[in-house]
């Protein structure tokens, strides 16, 4: 039993789960090393594919471990890997949330919130900026982003509308470009 794949998956992902700070990018290199080079659960090419899928899909990119678990050990592997990466930090954050709500921080809570807020906003801008400058969609990406901001700031439209619009605009570009002929 100690040699079963799901046990090994737990052993790899449980410790890593505590390092998934700031979006899970921080542990990607480690995941690749452990799962490709050490355990040979998947090839380098598979890992790259998994990475692309997890970026393209909805939800946190950390879901890449679900795919890895699945490829390494079927459904049981997927469940083990997913639980290992998500549950420990969730419990940790639950405890923090509870302390906050139970007023363990007393009268300092509001000041704590006030001090944290600007850092939070700065991080939102930073995250947007890094994707915008590395994504490679060119001028059209910037235009779609700007249009999406305008729409969301000035109207009460559902966020799915700009998302669908962005997809359609890029699709339109593809149809109009001579390469597709």
């Amino acid at each position: 039993m100690k040699d079963s794949v799901w046990w090994q998956l737990l052993r790899v992902f449980l410790p890593l789960s505590f390092l998934t700070i700031g979006g899970g990018q921080s542990i990607l290199a480690d995941i690749q090393r452990e799962t490709v080079s050490v355990h040979h659960w998947l090839t380098d090419a598979q890992f790259v594919d998994d990475f692309a899928i997890s970026r393209a899909s909805a939800g946190p990119n950390t879901l890449i471990v679900t795919l890895i678990g699945w490829q390494a050990g079927g459904i049981a592997g997927a469940v083990a890997a997913t639980a290992a990466i998500f549950v420990p930090p969730a419990i940790l954050f639950y405890v923090l949330t509870r302390l906050w709500r139970m007023n363990a921080f007393g009268r300092w809570r509001d000041r704590l919130a006030r001090g944290l807020a600007p850092v939070s906003v700065g991080l939102v801008f930073a995250g947007t900026y890094s994707v915008l400058t590395t994504e490679g969609g060119g001028v059209l990406s910037w235009i779609v982003t700007a249009a999406s901001v305008m729409l969301l700031m000035t109207t009460k439209v559902h966020p799915l509308l700009p998302l669908a619009g962005g997809a359609l605009i890029f699709l339109g570009k593809l149809l109009l470009s001579p390469l597709s002929a």
């Binding site: 390092l19 700070i21 700031g22 594919d49 692309a52 899928i53 899909s57 909805a58 939800g59 946190p60 990119n61 879901l63 679900t66 795919l67 699945w70 997927a78 997913t82 930090p89 940790l92 954050f93 639950y94 949330t97 906050w100 300092w108 000041r111 704590l112 006030r114 001090g115 944290l116 807020a117 600007p118 850092v119 939070s120 906003v121 700065g122 991080l123 939102v124 801008f125 930073a126 995250g127 947007t128 900026y129 890094s130 994707v131 915008l132 994504e135 969609g137 059209l140 990406s141 779609v144 982003t145 249009a147 901001v149 729409l151 969301l152 966020p159 700009p162 998302l163 962005g166 997809a167």
Partner: protein
């Protein structure tokens, strides 16, 4: 409780191209008014500097605020359930679509629009967060350090958060009269 399931489930499954916190802000803070912008921002800062995906942490934060422990569990599960199923489906069809230019372009478009969603939340919450020139400076420094200079998130965010919180504790007299 069914509302918690529905709202977080919808947010989870529609969160293509990132911008998840943007979705949450728009739906939960602006439309449903379940929590205030200040509470949301405090939760977001903690969610990003603690282990675990931001979305799951934020779901726990908001879910607990709404329905205590059960709310936290339901919100966290709901926000992950859709994406979990979806990613397994995507993985099975991936070989067939991986070289498709159409799929690639679609994703670029969605990502660009999702960035707009994040950005609009940043702009809106800047007013709430930057109550004085000091806090505005903190926000700008965080952006420059992590975004422009590509410094590691954790040390930068923790250092600036410590400075900012210390200011709020000891020097900010704006709420006294």
């Amino acid at each position: 409780m069914r509302d918690v399931w529905r709202v977080f489930g919808t947010i989870g499954i529609s969160s293509f191209g990132g911008g998840l916190s943007g979705w949450m802000f728009r739906e939960i803070v602006e439309r449903l008014r379940w929590i205030s912008p200040e509470e949301f921002l405090a939760g977001l800062a903690l969610a990003r500097t603690m282990p675990g995906p931001n979305v799951v942490n934020l779901a726990i934060w908001i879910g607990y605020r709404l329905r205590r422990t059960r709310g936290a569990i339901v919100a966290a599960f709901a926000v992950l359930a859709g994406p979990l199923v979806l990613i397994l489906i995507l993985a099975t069809v991936y070989e067939r679509i991986k070289h498709s230019i159409t799929v690639h372009q679609l994703l670029m478009g969605v990502t660009a629009a999702a960035l707009g969603l994040s950005l609009s939340v940043g702009i809106k919450s800047f007013q709430a967060a930057a109550r004085s020139p000091f806090y505005a400076t903190m926000a700008v420094l965080t952006f420059i350090g992590v975004g422009v200079l590509h410094q590691p998130l954790l040390p930068i965010a923790c250092t600036l958060a410590a400075v900012s919180v210390a200011w709020a504790f000891f020097l900010d007299r704006s709420d006294e009269r």
